[in-house]
Amino acid sequence: MRVLLVEDYAPMRNALARGLTEAGYAVDASSDGEEGLWYARSAPYDVIVLDLMLPRLDGLTILRTLRKEGCDTHVIILTARDAVEDRVNGLNAGADDYLVKPFSFEELLARIQVLVRRKYHHKDPVLCIADLQIDTIRKQVHRGRQPIDLTAREYALLEYLARRAGEPVSRTEIWEHVYDFHDSAQSNVVDVYIGYLRRKIERPDAPRLIHTRRGQGYILEARP
């Protein structure tokens, strides 16, 4: 899943970016409002974590602009102002959630997870496709009773495919949702990682789950 983090306070930005990356998210981080808005318009993020007090363009203005342009990406607002009026203003401007600093990083992760599930219309944090189980909270994958050990990038790819289970997902979409801007753009990276996933997930005695649809991309689904 791809997350945009817009936070000008460097220690917090660095800590959150590192934490989200380690949690398996592709993270793009920006330190000012104008750059943040550019990022938000440039890629289909799953969640935007947005600070309100930003240089050059404040968070509420970014939010209102995005909503006006029809962007429905989920947004969590981060701010040190906890007055009811501030929260109401933020939510009324189109935010999906609001966190008051200082907050628990675990809570931020959990709220981002909620918004991701909401985006893909999944209530259950455990995704199940045939006998493949993906626990999106613990980042654990099982096929049947067999645990599967995946790298962070492999897990992120699998989770994205699982959230879009049954739909063809193009390489571009995979790239946009699983890789951040700083990754070198190589078109075969996705294919390589799909290959890694297949090697770890597919079983000779179990139905294939990752399918290639020529010209459209990849589909994660159980086929008889």
Partner: protein, 500 residues
């Protein structure tokens, strides 16, 4: 003990009314008394003239005919009147009333040993008929033979003569006296009446004044009630202007005061909110860094990096809290001030040192002009804090490749330090706001959270504490200029208004 406004008004107006009424009463009484006395004297003179007309002269002999039945007042009795008549220039009594007995009436206007002839001729008026008075009547108060207080009149009058010889007219001197008891009684009654009427008028007017003063001061009571109804948790309340014209300035000033109080309270609330907000951000940075660091097992180097980051944040928070404490002490006047010789050149150099590396990294052109060599005394630590804040502000907000200029000038009474930096993002209108607590031209914290908007305000307050002043100016996209003026010492001590 101070008198109330009501008492003052009442005493003042009642006193004035009493004075006016009493003065009027006295004046009226005097007028009446004068009139009554004049009438009494006129009656005396008329009676004396009548008596003179009863005197006749025939062949050198004077005859006086008085019928007691017609004038019973001249017989001895309780209310007797008296008269005595002399020929002019003769002390022999021509006639006297029976009521006189053996007593003699004086001649008014003439001394005891003098005769009426001593009255100057010019005071005599021409007499044309018998009984006509040809001298002005002269009056005099006296004690009557019966012991009562009386008043007499003496006239000189022509008398009737039977002689056909042409010779000088014959005159007689008539003194007529009667009691003034009736006059005194009338005056006494009038006096009493006037006194009682005046007292009643004073009491009535005092009562009316009391009511009108009470009514007149009622708006004041209502104003006091309105002021007492003001609640400290509703600073936006204002007082209604429905008051008499005289109280309008009071209400206006009260509303202006409430406005200042509201502004101060809002400022305090805003300041507290700003402090909480500014402290929350580094705390959030600390927490996030620590939580992410502890989320998984890491290398020692990674932990070291995270700990260093936390230490940096803690140091920034410490600086912020230090600034806030300093501001709080300045506000309450609890910041001590030392006096020591200051070498400004050395001080500025010391304050600049920590920023040399950053200035080099940003490729800033740093210039220093002026030689402020005039020594003065001040608090070195506080001045150090001032210039450190100003240099920090200049270096951090200068654009990369820009410049920072330091200029010092000395005049007989002051030393000026001017710091300029390029790359200002503040307009001329916003420049003064940079001296407000927590105000920042941009709302972000670009440089690791240090600049929360306290540096310049603190520098300003410290300079003011040291007796100096600070001014800022800016042009968006141009130069930001801070000018500090430090007052010099006189030979005997700190120059005004440096001493507070």
């Amino acid at each position: 003990m101070k008198l109330s406004l009501r008492t003052r008004l009442l005493l003042g107006t009642a006193g004035a009314t009493a004075c006016v009424l009493l003065s009027a009463g006295v004046l009226l009484y005097r007028q009446i008394e004068s009139q009554l006395r004049a009438e009494f004297d006129h009656a005396l003179a008329t009676k004396a003239s009548l008596l003179a007309s009863l005197v006749e002269e025939e062949k050198g002999e004077f005859e006086f005919e008085l019928d007691d039945r017609l004038m019973p007042e001249f017989v001895p009795g309780d209310h007797a009147e008296y008269f005595q008549i002399w020929p002019e220039n003769d002390t022999t009594t021509l006639a006297r009333s029976r009521s006189l007995g053996g007593h003699t009436l004086p001649i008014a206007g003439v001394g005891p040993s003098e005769h009426l002839s001593s009255v100057p001729e010019k005071t005599r008026t021409p007499a044309t008929h018998s009984g006509a008075v040809n001298t002005a009547p002269r009056f005099r108060d006296l004690l009557l033979p019966d012991g009562r207080l009386g008043r007499c009149v003496t006239i000189t009058a022509l008398i009737r003569t039977e002689s056909h010889e042409v010779r000088s007219p014959t005159r007689v001197v008539v003194t007529y006296a009667r009691s003034i008891a009736s006059l005194a009684s009338a005056l006494q009654r009038i006096r009493s009446l006037l006194i009682w009427v005046s007292l009643a008028a004073i009491l009535l007017s005092t009562a009316l004044l009391l009511a009108s003063v009470r009514a007149g001061l009622k708006p004041l009571s209502e104003l006091a009630r309105a002021i007492s109804a003001l609640r400290p948790d509703q600073p936006s309340t204002r007082m209604a202007m429905r008051t008499p014209r005289e109280l309008t300035p009071v209400v206006e000033q009260m509303n202006a005061l409430l406005q200042r109080v509201e502004t101060a309270i809002q400022g305090e609330k805003s300041f507290s909110a700003d402090v909480a907000h500014e402290l929350r951000t580094p705390l959030a940075g600390l927490r996030s860094t620590l939580e992410v660091s502890l989320a998984r097992q890491r290398d020692a180097d990674d932990y070291r990096v995270d700990m260093a980051g936390c230490l940096s944040i803690t140091t920034q928070m410490q600086a912020m809290v230090g600034n806030l404490l300093c501001l709080a002490r300045l506000e309450t006047g609890n910041l001590p001030r030392r006096e020591e010789p200051i070498d400004l050149h050395t001080l500025l150099s010391d304050c600049w040192k920590p920023f040399e590396d950053l200035a080099r990294d940003k490729h800033l052109t740093v210039t220093r002009n002026g030689t402020a060599t005039h020594a003065f005394t001040s608090d070195k630590d506080l001045l150090r804090q001032v210039f450190t804040n100003l240099f920090e502000n200049a270096v951090h907000y200068a654009d990369a490749g820009g410049f920072v200029e330091l200029d010092t000038q000395t005049c007989p009474t002051c030393t000026q330090v001017t710091i300029r930096n390029s790359g200002s993002q503040l307009s001329a209108e916003d420049a003064p706001r940079s001296l407000e607590h927590f105000w920042r031209g941009d709302t972000g914290r670009q440089h690791t959270g240090q600049h929360c908007g306290l540096g310049l305000p603190l520098a300003r307050r410290l300079l003011e504490h040291l007796g100096g002043t600070i001014q800022v100016s800016s042009q968006k996209g141009g130069t930001f200029v801070v000018t500090c003026t430090l007052l010099q010492h006189t030979g005997t001590g700190m120059s005004e208004p440096e001493r507070r």
